[in-house]
């Protein structure tokens, strides 16, 4: 019994790690190919069939490259930053359910847990910005911090609205309470959530913290080799976490034909569709300016999220 319990922990951890090391690569490869074809290119074609092994080759290259710590950097902060950026997304992945039974850690308030853990990642970016001892990095790091502060609020309010509609803070419970009407009822909240998620991931059009035309590469300017690769991996792991979270909160998770057996497939397919949408945004839209980015959060997203909250509260009280 106790051995079985220990074995269960080990197997679940291994499954989370396997998902963490494969799904971001899948999203990354999808980004290579989707972006390429949207821009009339082929994308990577050399490593394996249609460049399927490109990201593995990139990883092997990164681990063999020299990691330079600048002489002016705060060494320990600089070296720890990639780990602080990476690990939170792994932990977040552990509590996101693929189906009612396919969840590594079904903690009671998993919605709150995911939101709390994913915001830790930005501390890694802030540490990178501060620790690099570089003016570009410092500006980029502060932009990243300011961006998280502004966009965390709409995302939390939108998530609270879903929790109200479902009457639970458990992600599996939320999918259990979901009905197709939510697509309409929670639509403003879904828009707020997706927009704020893209901003938290610092993806185009909200990538002012790493705006290459203004501040080189922001907090990542001084990074090279494996530490840089860890930051890249954390970005794609972030897309995976946010896409799956959106699928679970707003798209009914594992609901679909034969959901008893195909449940996890539906969650992954819905998540992949959201990930493609996030990639599409990068191809379609230019970067917004830093002041526009801040104003958008406070004058558009926040009132919209509060309106959704009122709509949800009234809906729950009136229709039960």
């Amino acid at each position: 019994m106790d051995l079985a319990f220990a074995l269960e922990i080990v197997l679940k951890t291994a499954a989370v790690m396997a998902a963490f090391l494969s799904l971001p690569l899948l999203v990354g490869q999808t980004e290579h190919k989707v972006m390429a074809h949207m821009q009339g290119r082929l994308g990577p074609m050399e490593a394996g069939f249609h460049g399927i092994g490109q990201l593995v080759a990139d990883g092997i290259k990164f681990v063999q490259k020299e990691d330079i710590t600048p002489a002016g950097a705060d060494r320990h902060v600089f070296r720890l930053a990639p780990a602080v950026a990476l690990v939170p997304y792994l932990v977040a992945l552990a509590v996101i359910p693929l189906s009612a039974s396919w969840v590594a850690a079904d903690v009671p308030a998993s919605l709150l847990f995911v939101l709390a853990v994913t915001s830790v990642g930005v501390i890694g970016t802030l540490m990178a910005g501060w620790g690099s001892g570089n003016k570009y990095s410092l500006i980029g790091g502060l932009r990243a911090g300011a961006q998280l502060v502004s966009y965390e609020l709409p995302i939390v309010l939108a998530a609270a609205s879903v929790a109200m509609a479902a009457g639970t803070l458990s992600l599996t419970g939320i999918v259990g309470a979901w009905s197709p009407w939510w697509l309409l009822w929670q639509l403003p909240g879904a828009f707020v959530f997706l927009t704020a998620a893209v901003a938290e991931l610092q993806r185009t059009p909200f990538d002012a913290p790493i705006a290459d035309a203004e501040i080189v590469f922001g907090p990542l300017t001084e990074y090279s080799g494996l530490r840089f690769a860890f930051f890249l991996l954390s970005e794609y792991a972030g897309i995976v976490v946010m896409s799956l979270l959106f699928a679970v909160l707003y798209l009914g998770g594992w609901g679909g034909p034969w959901s008893d057996t195909l449940g996890p497939v539906w969650t992954l397919l819905k998540g992949l569709a959201v990930a493609v949408l996030i990639i599409w945004l990068r191809v379609a839209w230019p970067r917004v300016r830093e002041d526009q980015l801040q104003r958008f959060a406070w004058t558009v997203l926040l009132p919209l999220a509060l309106g959704q909250l009122a709509l949800t509260g009234a809906g729950v009280v009136i229709w039960g």
């Binding site: 990639p82 792994l90 932990v91 502060v149 926040l302």
Partner: protein, 136 residues
């Protein structure tokens, strides 16, 4: 105490159904630390290390760096940080409220929450009207 030592340490976890999931979370955190350590270890074995003065210079678009990296500057996002603290405290109250909305407290709590958030919205509107929600 021989009778206690015959019980494995994991037995105390098994008895609490909720804690099993947190044990998985803890194991995943440890696995993440292990991943980073293994990655840095592999890098140490595989990657060259040949630091030179030029390589370790702070990058400032190719010219020699001027002064320190930690410069003084105008933090323009300060007001947003204050507003965030106000609304983040509000969000703390939202989640417990989300769970009692379907009980007999529902309609009364809805009105109370509307007043509470209404006050915050008036504050936000005031900050907006006074021009704090712009680049300044």
């Amino acid at each position: 105490m021989p009778c206690r030592s015959s019980v494995p340490w994991t037995a105390s976890i098994v008895r609490l159904p909720d804690m099993g999931d947190y044990a998985v979370v803890l194991a995943v955190v440890l696995a993440g630390v292990l991943l980073v350590v293994a990655g840095y270890g592999a890098r140490r074995l595989l990657a060259p290390s040949d630091p030179t003065t030029a390589k370790q210079t702070t990058y400032e678009s190719g010219v020699d760096p001027i002064g320190e990296g930690w410069m003084q500057g105008s933090v323009r996002y300060l007001v947003f940080a204050f507003l965030y603290v106000v609304f983040a405290v509000d969000a703390v109250y939202l989640f417990p409220w989300a769970l009692v909305l379907r009980t007999e407290l529902g309609p009364a709590s809805l009105v109370e929450m509307a007043i509470f958030i209404g006050v915050l919205v008036i504050g936000l509107g005031h900050a907006w009207r006074r021009g704090l929600l712009r680049w300044w």
